[in-house]
Symmetry: C2
Subunit: 141 residues, 2 copies
DNA sequence: ATTCTTGCAAACTTTTTGCACCGAT
DNA sequence: ATCGGTGCAAAAAGTTTGCAAGAAT
């Protein structure tokens, strides 16, 4: 489930003209390494493990900058906190395991197609969408 | 787009053993009348138009009570605020018009079915789900 | 009479901001 | 040298809570 990274976040920041400071380097590193969808507090914690002293305001500001430049995606699941992931090369949706809190990515062309169709039927075109399936593991073992 | 209300929120509160105070009566009235998905601040404003002096903490507490008893549904769209609607008799999903902020309800059996299928393929069963299509009107005029 | 609800203010949590300083370009 | 980024502390914004008083049952 490790996705092939064609380009690192640092590269994409450079391309966007964002300055690469020491703090940012660490934040971007943490983001690139994250396979989950951490919130700011968790990011700050992980950053602090690598390099202590980075202020949480810096993490907030960096996340906002990155989101402005579409380098990361923001999610707000039912816990009400903003969570982040590096902008995926391909769109996907999320399972959220209600028992463990784990977030699993998935993708279905068929659902994507159906969504387009339904939007069209209502006279809309889709700008973006969000599908979250809150699930639990089937006890069939 | 006015949905047929079989039972009013006040009735459902009584059934759940919640006390009907003056403040609650107004809040429930506002909720029943709302065809949109207001947040607490907006609810408080509307309540204040009918009967001034209701504290916003009361609105918060009432919303939490109602949610506990499954009499309303909480939503958090991309604006990051908690929004509410009376618990719908039938499940539905939402279009959010990104240009106007308008929220439109829709429902597709086919999508529901597909979701179940995909969850099953991943070894999950669905507890609940959320599908939000951020859309804009098609300029075909 | 009892128990639930309310108002108010204070506290809490999450996020943003003003400002002086520092560092990347 | 410039302009953007950072730390810090304060402020905002959204939500919750303790407590004493009041109202529904």
């Amino acid at each position: 489930m490790t996705k092939a990274k064609h380009e690192t976040l640092i590269d994409r920041c450079r391309e966007s003209g964002l300055r690469i400071t020491g703090q940012r380097r660490v934040i971007l590193e943490v983001l690139d390494a994250a396979s989950d969808h951490p919130d700011v507090e968790e990011l700050h914690r992980r950053v602090g493990e690598i390099e202590p002293g980075v202020n949480i305001a810096t993490v907030y500001r960096t996340m906002n900058k990155l989101a402005e430049h579409d380098l990361i995606e923001r999610h707000m699941f039912d816990d009400g906190r903003l969570r982040y992931e590096p902008a995926p090369e391909e769109h996907h949706d999320h399972f959220i395991d209600v028992e463990t809190g784990e977030v699993i990515e998935f993708m279905s062309d068929e659902i994507e197609r159906l969504q387009e169709e339904i939007a069209r039927q209502h006279g809309f075109e889709i700008v973006s969408h969000k599908l979250e399936l809150y699930v639990k593991r089937r006890k069939t073992d």
